[in-house]
Every structure is written in C-alpha cells, then in structure tokens.
C-alpha cells in the first residue's frame, strides 16, 4: 500500500482530474452522482496522500534527497519539458493538508450546495481545483508548477464567479484572475530567465546548478530572478500590493473560500518559495524583501481587518495577514516555521471559513457581523468550532496556532528585532479582530429576526474534524518533529523560546480581553473609538482606498491609452490607408482630365509624345556624334 502510494503519487492529482472530466462531460446535471464522484476521487487522493506520508516516514525520504518520478511532457526547440512527481516531506505534508481540507470541503459542500442547481458544475470545478493544486504540490519543475499554478488560478476564477449571475461575483472573479496574472507575469519572467540561464527548470537539477553558478558568477543575476519569481507569490498569496483580489474573492461560495482562498491555493505562493528555497536561501537581498514585505502585509492586512464588517471579509484580511506571516518566516530563513504555520493555518482558517459558511447560510446570506449576534445559542456546534479557530489563530496554547506562530516569532526575533516587533503587533491585532468577530457574531442577544439554525450533518461533521485538527495539529506537529522533516539546510532548534512565547500569549490575552470589553461588555463604545480615530478609521475601513487608486491607474494606463490607440488606429493608421486610396482615385480623376473628348487635343498630345521621342533621339544622336566625332 505504501509503496503503491509512493510510486503512484501521480495518481493523486489525476483522480480528481478524472472526476472533473466525468462530471463535466457526463453527470453535470445529476447532483448526487456528481457529488459522489467528486468525493470518491478526493477521498482516494486523500488515502494515497496518507500513503505517501507513510512512505516518506518509513523510507526516510528527506528534504535533501527527494523521491522523483518524471516523464517528458514535451520537447520543443531544444527544451525538454518534464512532468512528474517530486516527493519529499514538504510535498507529503502539503498533499495531506490539501486533500484533507479538500475532502472536508467536499463533504461540507454536499450540504451547502444542496439547493443550488449548479451543484454538478460546482463539484466538477472543485475536483479540477484539487487536481491542479495537487499537481502543483508534486511539481518537479518550475514549468509544471507554473502550469498548475495557472490551473488553480483558473479554478479560482471559475469558482469565485460561480454565481455568474451576480455582477459582483463576476467582477471579483475577473479581478482575481487579472491581479494574480500580474504576479504570474513576473514569475514567468523569472522562469524564463532560469530556463535561458540554466537550460533547465527541474528543481533537482537546479539545486546542483545554482550553487555552482553562484560560485562562478555571484548572486546579482540570481537576485533579479529571485525577485521576479517572488512577484508570482505576491500575486497568488495576496501580498501587498497585489492583495486586492483576495477580499473580493469572497464572492464565491463559502466552501470555495475555505478551500481555495484560505487553506490551499493562496499558500501556493508560500509553497513555491519553500520549494525553490534552495534559490532564495542563497539570496539575502531577496530574503530581506520577502521578510519585510511579508511583515508589512501581515500588519497592513491586520489594520484593515480590524474595521471590516462582513464576516468573510474579516477572515479574508486575516488570511492575507497570516500569509504575510508565512512570508515573513520564509524571509527570515525559517522554512519549517513557515510551512508549519501553513499547515496549521490551513486547518484553522478552513475551519473558520466553513463556520462562516454555516453562519451565513443560516443567516440567509446576511454577512454583516453587526447584524448577527447571539448565534452561540442557535448554533452551538458552529460556535464551538469557531471559538477553537479564533483561539487557534490568536495563538494561545495548546492550540495549533500557538506553536506555529511562536516558531515564526522566534525565527524573526533571531534575525531582526523590528521584524519581530511588527510580527508581535500583528499578533496582537489578530487576536483583537478575531475576538471581535467572535464576540460580535456569537455573543450578545439573539436578534428577533434571526433565522439562524444549526446546520445539517454534512456541514457539521467537517467542522468538527477540522476543529480537532486545529487543536491538535500544532502540538502534534511540534512534538512529533515537524521540523525534523521539513527544513532547509541545517535542522533548526525546535525548543520553545518561552520569553517570546510568553509575551505573545500575554499580548493575545490582552487583545482578547480588550475586545471582550468593547464588544461584549461594551465598556467603550466602538463607534466612539471609530470617530476618535477619524481618518485612520476611514483608511482602514476602505482598505486604504487601494482599489480606488488602482481603478484610477487602470483607467489612466489602460482604458485611456486604449481609447487613444483606437483613435490612432481608425484615424491615422486607417486614415493613411484610406487616404492613399482616395489619393489614387484623385490622381485617376486628374490624369483623365485631358481625356475630354476633344479629338484634336488627342492629336496634340500624341504629337507631344512624338516630339519627346524625337528629342530623345536627337539627344542620343548628339551623344553618338560627340563620342564618334561624326565619323562612323
């Protein structure tokens, strides 16, 4: 079984892909069959993933020596492009995380989508997404990664725009695709440079080539490549300034938000850097950029999240913030901390999103948390799960978030104090706004018009499973030696630094208490605070007007120039063509003017021609005479 899983790891993405094909071509109309096919496929992948993990553990496949299977996908123009599966602990971890969350979300969706006529389509897309994401995870080279990277982007687009009749969904989908495309552009450039420079995109080969290259030519060129490659993750993982699509992506069905925009796809960027860490780790400048951008994003998103009102939007900004954390961890050189956080975050954020889905469905599509309240009475299971999620993200022991966040903070503190400070402030704010969410939505009085009811079993059980994972994954990972397996270079210190951990716990507690005072006890009026903060509140509430700024620039650089180009094309380029046509016709008219029917004029012109010819002959004759001197 374990061997089978290892040697057939390529089946992991393929099974959901098949499910997509089958559902798409065949059973799209039949909800139930579609759901069964989708869930079966993902379950099989899940089992295989577990098998892979088992194989990694038993066969002791380590980061430095991964297990690789590959085949040639295409040969073109002297390039050989491969496809295959690269199995190492990192991959195994990702496989499990992705399949677990995907499985949960699939099951959840059976409940969530049961009244939607597009359920077949939904499962098809989910399967396709799972296939792409898993394909991305097992990539053996940058091209494969890029391919599936775009694939997940497509699925994200399709699923955000799942409710295609809603203009907001349509626009959000578009925005997501284009924004990430900008990132992809940079990444594509990086990949091209790698291909041109090294002649290969294969991770394993690059791993040996890169150090040699650095030895010979230094890092300056690779720094450019690294920065370009990093643009991709900026887009995909919602880092500033390309984060704008992620909050809007919440227009999609909530399971999608949970799976794609919280747990899996958005971490693809982090994963890419992790996978290519052998490049990034050699480039201090790039690492610095990553760290600072990550830190800034984490902080920046947190400041926005504090003032948001829609349930999923808060979670979205929180996701951005947490992704910033992961980036920060990578930037400060701790692959394992980052990946660890990636894993825990996947579980607790998926959990929270699924809870959000339950709540919003129960509230009949009402998303504003201030219109909720007291839901803990109506939806106890959901509440408990949500609470676990919040505590986990806030970083209280022994929940998952504590261990991973602590690892990041410790790593940051080791490298740079300002970064550590930034991360800590962010942690504080995270604890605050997550508590705010929890308190506003679930505490207080039940409103009279509240229609909320506990959800059905399909939706409940995944919550429970994820809640359990949110609780245990941190501790389990920490103590079972996550960092023994997933690391880069030298294995890192794993012991908990209690100074850092303690201060972070204290900060979180303060934040939660404060939130409790404001939103439950209502010691201070939240509105008053908002008014006092004035401009800052406005900025935060409107996400620093970044969307508006972008729209302005898009209008300026795209639409205006587009209209200008069109004008140029129709009036100048076309104008020249049409003008030439008209000119020729004009010449035609002018040339034919002598043709006025007057015979004698014709004769005159004829003789003019004759005279010209005679003149030519005389000229020639004189020339001959002058050459020959009149003699023949």
């Amino acid at each position: 079984m374990i061997d089978f899983a290892l040697y057939h790891a390529w089946l992991i993405p393929l099974l959901p892909a098949l499910a997509f094909v089958v559902i798409g071509l065949g059973t799209r109309q039949d909800k139930k069959t579609s759901a069964i096919i989708g869930i079966t496929a993902i379950s099989a992948s899940f089992l295989l993933s577990l098998g892979v993990v088992g194989a990694v553990l038993t066969k002791r496949i380590v980061m430095a020596d991964p297990f690789v299977m590959k085949t040639v996908w295409a040969r073109i123009g002297g390039m050989e492009l491969g496809m295959g599966a690269l199995i190492d602990p990192l991959t195994a971890m990702m496989l499990v995380v992705v399949t677990t969350v995907a499985l949960m979300v699939n099951i959840y969706s059976v409940g969530y989508m049961e009244h939607d006529s597009g359920m077949g389509r939904f499962f098809a897309f989910l399967s396709l997404f799972a296939a792409s994401m898993l394909g991305l995870v097992i990539s053996v080279n940058f091209l494969q990664m890029y391919i599936f990277w775009e694939g997940v982007g497509l699925c994200s687009y399709l699923l955000i725009g799942f409710y295609y009749y809603k203009i907001s969904a349509r626009e959000a989908a578009k925005k997501a695709f284009i924004t990430t495309r900008i990132g992809d552009f940079g990444m594509l450039l990086g990949i091209l440079l790698l291909q041109i420079n090294f002649g290969t995109l294969d991770f394993i080969e690059l791993k040996t080539l890169v150090p040699q290259y650095i030895w010979v030519s230094g890092t300056s060129f690779l720094t450019v490549i690294g920065l370009l490659l990093f643009i991709g993750p900026i887009g995909k993982s919602g880092q500033f300034p390309l984060h704008v699509w992620l909050p809007d992506a919440m227009e999609g069905p909530t399971p999608v938000s949970a799976l794609i925009h919280a747990a899996t796809m958005v971490v693809a960027g982090v994963y890419l850097i992790g996978r290519a860490y052998f490049i990034f780790a050699e480039l201090p400048i790039v690492l610095n950029v990553i760290a600072w951008l990550g830190g800034f994003t984490a902080f920046f998103a947190a400041t926005i999240a504090i003032t948001q009102r829609p349930f999923k939007r808060i979670l979205a900004y929180s996701t951005i913030s947490q992704l910033g954390y992961m980036m920060l961890a990578l930037g400060v050189g701790s692959l394992s901390a980052s990946m660890f956080h990636l894993m825990t975050h996947a579980f607790f954020k998926a959990l929270m999103f699924l809870c959000a889905g339950a709540v919003i469905e129960a509230m009949h599509e009402e998303a504003d948390i201030f219109k909720m309240g007291g839901l803990r009475h109506r939806m106890p299971v959901t509440f408990k799960c949500m609470a676990i999620g919040v505590v986990a993200i806030a970083g209280l022991p022994p929940f998952a978030g504590f261990f991973s966040k602590d690892a990041i903070l410790a790593a940051a503190a080791e490298v740079s104090f300002p970064l550590y400070l930034l991360a800590s402030v962010t942690a504080f704010m995270t604890a605050f706004y997550m508590s705010r969410l929890l308190f506003v939505a679930f505490f207080g009085e039940v409103r009279d018009d509240c229609p909320a009811q506990e959800t059905n079993a399909f939706m409940r059980w995944p919550l429970v499973v994820l809640a359990v994972l949110s609780v245990i994954s941190g501790a389990w990972g920490h103590f079972a030696g996550f960092s023994d397996w997933v690391f880069y270079g030298v294995r890192e210190e794993e012991a908990i630094n209690w100074t850092i951990a303690g201060s972070s716990i204290v900060l979180s507690l303060i934040a939660m208490w404060w939130a409790y005072q404001i939103y439950v006890v209502k010691r201070w009026s939240s509105f008053q605070i908002a008014r006092r903060l004035g401009v800052l509140y406005d900025l935060s509430y409107h996400a620093y007007y970044i969307d508006e700024i972008y729209a302005f620039f898009r209008e300026l650089t795209v639409d205006k120039i587009g209209r200008l180009s069109l004008w140029i094309d129709t009036h100048i380029v076309d104008g020249i063509v049409h003008g030439l046509g008209r000119l020729t016709k004009g010449i035609s008219v002018v040339l034919a003017l002598p043709q006025n029917g007057d015979t004698q004029q014709y004769v005159a012109i004829f003789y003019t021609g004759v005279i010209a010819l005679v003149a030519y002959s005389l000229f020639y004759a004189v020339k001959i005479l002058s050459v020959t001197g009149g003699a023949f």
Binding site: A604, V614, S617, L618, A621
Partner: protein, 192 residues
C-alpha cells in the same frame, strides 16, 4: 559702315563666283525647286487659312500639283503622274464632293478654326516638330548624290509584280474594303 560694305562686297563676289562656277541647269534646278516649293507651302497655308472650304480644297489641289511638279523636277515621273492623278484628281474630287454633300448655307465661313489658345498650342507643337525634323535632317550626313534613273515606271512595275506582289495584292483588298466600308458608312441608318 565697314561691315555693311563688306557684306555688299561679298554678295557681289558671290554673284560673280556663282555665275562662273555653276552652269545653267543647276541654276534652273534651284529656281524650279524654290518656285514650286514656295508655291506648295503657300497653297498649303492657303488650305488652312482660307475661310471658304471650297477655296481650301482648291488650294489643296494646287499644293498637290506643285508637289507633283517637284517630283517631275527630280525625275520621279511616275510619282508625279500618280500624284496628279490620285491627289489632284481623285482625292480632290472626293473632297469637293464631300463638301457639297455636307454643305451649309453660308459657304463664306465654312472653314472654321479653333480659338487663339489652340492656335498657339498648335504652333508650338508643329513648330517643335518642324524643329526636330530639321535638326534630324541637318545632323544626318546623307549622301547627296542625285541619280538619274530615267523612266522609273518599268522598275516600279518590276518590283510591284515580283518582290512586292503581296503588298500589291493586299493593297487591292484594302482599296476594295475601303470602298465597301465607305459605301456602308455613307449609306448609314436610313436605307429603307
């Protein structure tokens, strides 16, 4: 004064020399040429400038006859005869007939011309052509050795029935078809 005197002197000297050097035939030859050529050109101008088309036609005939005389003067007897017969006779008659058939009331102005601009343009074109042809004639070092062939008719007849029998026959067809064509065209649409 000297220059004028010199010219006059020269002229006298030339006259004496001319009388000495040239015999009468040459002189006569020159006289005949200039007489008929001058007349021909004069009549040709008449063709153009007479207001009455009948006068023009007569002038044309006169030109033809002058040219015929020139032919005769250089020994082209047969050509001269043809010229008088065909041009002075047939063509002239044809033209006069045409004038009669297309006559109008006021014969005094029956030979209208185009406007002044057209005259100027025509003068330029014709003048340039003349200039060109004169230049050609002057620039060409022709052999100017007149030959006295005597009676050309037998020679021509010989050529026409041997070397050039085909053009001769074709010319016959040409005349036939021209006749038929002219008849058909002249009959026009209103033959009933």
């Amino acid at each position: 004064m000297d220059a004028v005197f010199e010219q006059v002197h020269g002229l006298v000297a030339w006259g004496l020399a001319f009388a000495n050097e040239y015999e009468a035939p040459a002189l006569i030859e020159a006289g005949v040429f200039f007489l008929f050529a001058g007349l021909a050109l004069l009549f040709a101008c008449g063709v153009i400038f007479f207001r009455n088309v009948v006068h023009s036609a007569l002038s044309l005939t006169a030109t033809f006859i002058c040219v015929a005389c020139l032919y005769l003067s250089i020994g082209a007897d047969f050509m001269g005869a043809v010229q008088i017969l065909v041009y002075g006779g047939a063509v002239a008659v044809l033209i006069v007939m045409a004038i009669m058939l297309t006559r109008r009331d006021d014969m005094a102005h029956s030979n209208p011309s185009r406007g002044l601009f057209r005259h100027a343009a025509a003068a330029v074109v014709a003048g340039l052509f003349l200039l060109g042809m004169s230049a050609v004639a002057i620039l060409s070092p022709f052999h100017s050795a007149p030959q006295s062939l005597g009676d050309a008719a037998p020679g021509l007849a010989d050529l026409m029935l041997t070397h050039y029998v085909l053009p001769f026959e074709v010319a016959a067809v040409l005349l036939l078809m021209a006749m038929i064509g002219a008849l058909v065209l002249a009959k026009g649409a209103d033959e009933r």
